[in-house]
């Protein structure tokens, strides 16, 4: 059985293009905990998520996921525990149905292919018309893209969710539906990046990041 999905960032310093984005930053989440990461623009909130995914390698400090250090070797298996939806998700080219199927061509997800049967229910839960499945991703609105990206993330059955401003383009009704859905996932560990606490009202913790480059 997998170890509990804890997240730990310890004394991490990140520099990009000569600028310090994070300095001695630490954060720890217990398994199943939900945290809201907030703070002004440019304070490094998205960088924290990118560190957890191994997209940014810290200059100093360490990152642990489920008790395992994130390294160039372990990152490939640890990513299989994470569902990530970025700001303004770029779904790529093609129709929505193909985009939802794409991750199941990866070796890590082939066994989960049956989860595609959940697409209609998830579309209903998020207020997405099923006719969107045959629409070009490029023709979707910002809010529709965000919800399709969330559906895609949920289909992968991960136990850690890293969600970056995922309700920013949603109308209040759609936002409520998304929030209610994630509230019901009590077992999952979630780190939610947003400017305001309203976007993630069921957070166990609110982590305020200092303004500007830390």
């Amino acid at each position: 059985m997998d170890r509990p999905a804890t997240l730990e960032i310890k004394d991490v310093t990140v520099q990009l293009n000569g600028q310090t984005i994070l300095h001695d930053f630490s954060l720890g989440l217990e398994a199943g905990q939900k945290a809201l990461l907030t703070g002004p623009s440019g304070c490094g909130k998205s960088t924290v998520l990118r560190c957890l995914l191994g997209f940014v390698v810290p200059r100093a400090g360490s990152v642990h996921i489920a008790g395992q250090a994130l390294t160039a070797e372990s990152v490939w298996t640890l990513r299989r525990r994470i569902a990530y939806v970025g700001q303004e998700p770029d779904l790529g080219a093609g129709i929505v149905r193909d985009i939802l199927e794409r991750p199941f061509h990866y070796r890590a997800n082939t066994a989960l292919r049956g989860n595609l049967a959940r697409v209609p229910a998830l579309f209903d839960a998020f207020g997405l018309a099923r006719s969107l499945l045959d629409k070009e991703a490029g023709d979707l609105s910002g809010g529709e893209k965000q919800r399709v990206a969330l559906v895609s993330a949920l289909l992968l059955d991960r136990d850690i969710f890293l969600l970056d401003e995922v309700t920013s383009a949603l109308d209040p009704a759609s936002k409520r539906k998304v929030i209610e859905h994630f509230r019901s996932r009590t077992e999952a560990t979630m780190l939610f990046v947003a400017h305001d606490a309203e976007s993630f009202p069921f957070a166990d913790r609110v982590i305020e990041m200092p303004g500007g480059a830390a």
Partner: protein, 264 residues
């Protein structure tokens, strides 16, 4: 068949008169390319004079090592040219791409000379240099299009690429759609030229063999063999080029290493 007609220096000079047409068009439309054109014509002339003299010596000696060295020089020049054209850093890409170009040229060349022409000496200068040059020239064109398309589309579509990694893709799985796009872009011209060859234009090798005094029946056999060799060489060099350069172009965690791009 007739032997090849000798072109005297005076007669060759007449060929330069044809330059009056493009230069006049540039003047008429005020296209600022006259200086560039003159420099490239002078360069072409000097390079071909040098190569002509050098190849006479290489052909006369027909030494295996000398031919191999000349082919390596050709591959090196092509390698540098591709990396520069793709706005990538020489220090990061040149070595893996050199391996890909060498394989893409050597495999079809050796099969052509050994299997099709049945020469005992696989590096017989008279065959290895012109045939190797034709294959390499096409590998160069394919790599410029393919390698550039591959890295540029990952750079511009980085969000989608990273999303694939976040969804659990291994590096080769995340690279696949970009490699497909690059291969399509690079191989399409060769596929298109095979479709229309002989109908739209008489290809270079066939023309050369005919001008050399052989019959069109022999010329088409050479042409078919070279077209297939070129296609196979471009596919090998492209596939190997993307694979080998990816070893030095991505961070160990998966994202593209932006330091491979040359500042524009």
């Amino acid at each position: 068949m007739n032997q090849v007609v000798e072109i005297g220096a005076g007669h060759l000079a007449a060929a330069y008169l044809l330059l009056a047409f493009p230069l006049a068009i540039m003047l008429w439309y005020r296209i600022p390319m006259i200086g560039e054109t003159v420099v490239s014509v002078v360069r072409m002339t000097l390079q071909l004079i040098f190569v002509g003299l050098y190849l006479q010596v290489v052909f006369r000696l027909n030494n295996l090592w000398l031919t191999a060295a000349w082919l390596l020089v050709m591959v090196t020049v092509a390698d540098v040219s591709i990396v520069r054209s793709c706005s990538l850093k020489l220090s990061r890409i040149a070595l893996p791409l050199f391996g890909a170009l060498l394989a893409g040229t050597a495999v079809p060349l050796l099969l052509f000379v050994g299997l099709i022409l049945r020469r005992d000496n696989l590096l017989d200068a008279q065959y290895a240099i012109p045939i190797g040059g034709m294959i390499l020239g096409n590998c160069l064109r394919a790599d410029i299009v393919g390698v550039r398309t591959f890295y540029e589309s990952i750079r511009t579509g980085e969000k989608t690429f990273l999303q694939s990694l976040a969804q659990g893709a291994l590096l080769h799985e995340a690279m696949r759609p970009y490699a497909q796009k690059a291969c399509r872009a690079a191989l399409a011209p060769t596929v298109a030229s095979m479709t229309t060859i002989g109908l739209v234009s008489l290809p270079g090798m066939m023309t050369g063999v005919i001008l050399g005094g052989a019959s069109p029946a022999i010329a088409i056999k050479y042409q078919i063999a070279i077209m297939i060799s070129i296609f196979s060489g471009t596919a090998i060099t492209l596939a190997m080029g993307l694979w080998l350069t990816s070893k030095t172009s991505f961070t160990p965690h998966g994202p593209i290493d932006r330091s491979i791009f040359r500042a524009s």
